[in-house]
Symmetry: C2
């Protein structure tokens, strides 16, 4: 991702957080993460996040999604004898369409990014509105998309080790590379 695009997306997300009344420290603003997963289609396939805390025992983040932006399907596998990351998504603003293992939902609400059907395998739909939440068991596939107005999601979880996440799409590189 180019630095200009990073700055543009970051600025949009910071405005969204501000509008909703979620305040960040200066350090958190500096470390604001924009993940395009190396796919080069950030507004369709990507995720923005602020890591509040990540200790050896627990983790909390704020996730910010652009309108209809999709976080690609992934799994948090067992790492070093742990069970793998368990995470709770709590919708704070907007609508989130979350997909997990289970019976396939007919007529799902997500709009699949062009050509991305092949990289989405679970279709049990969970719709989250503000004040609603869902807990994803460790080592199970999931992906999610924001509704038409974007979404803000508080993530509460066990320790986060993003570099161990397994994505269905083999082209994905979880750790962002930003160029001038």
């Amino acid at each position: 991702m180019h630095l200009k695009e990073y700055e543009e997306i970051k600025s949009e997300c910071l405005n969204y957080l501000k509008k909703v009344g979620i305040q960040l420290s200066e350090k958190e603003k500096q470390n604001f993460e924009v993940a395009d997963f190396g796919l080069g289609r950030i507004r369709k396939l990507g995720l923005q996040l602020v890591v509040y805390i990540n200790t050896e025992r627990y983790c909390a983040k704020e996730l910010i999604l652009l309108p209809r932006q999709t976080c690609p399907e992934h799994i948090h596998p067992p790492v070093n004898g742990s069970l793998g990351k368990e995470e709770t998504f709590r919708c704070r603003k907007g609508t989130v369409y979350l997909y997990v293992e289970g019976p396939e939902t007919k007529n799902p609400k997500a709009i699949i990014p062009d050509g991305y059907e092949a990289y989405l395998s679970v279709w049990n739909e969970v719709i989250l509105q503000p004040g609603e939440q869902f807990t994803i068991p460790p080592n199970t596939p999931h992906w999610f998309q924001a509704g038409d107005n974007g979404a803000i999601v508080s993530e509460f979880s066990s320790t986060s080790t993003d570099e161990n996440d397994i994505f269905i799409d083999p082209r994905i590189n979880r750790i962002p590379v930003i160029t001038d």
Copy 2:
């Protein structure tokens, strides 16, 4: 605590959350916790909370403090071979005066509830404004008070077992008793 007082405090807190844009589910509203610690002085010594999630690995709560309300000093001791609860307080609204182990702060901002000096032993002051946070190590004493306008604090932590908390004030009963 009498049911009428519980309902009154609860209603004030739900209005505060609503004003700030933090939405709760119906179930969370029903389970809203008002803790007077058995001291019978809820507006001076107490805490209100919503437990979002509490698994065997992590926990997240929203804490709501009335203006100048104090959460009494306590410790989260080791339990069943765990280290004891580690917790991060993130201020969302208002001001929080947090006291932890360390050098005593001269002229602390907290206003001590009448006759409560004897039950407060740590005086290293941490002031939290919205967007600021602090992590309290396991098994260390801490207490906190909201500023003049109350406060809302997101708590991210390892698993919570409130019944194991140790309070300095021996009269305290952590699990609320509500009577008609």
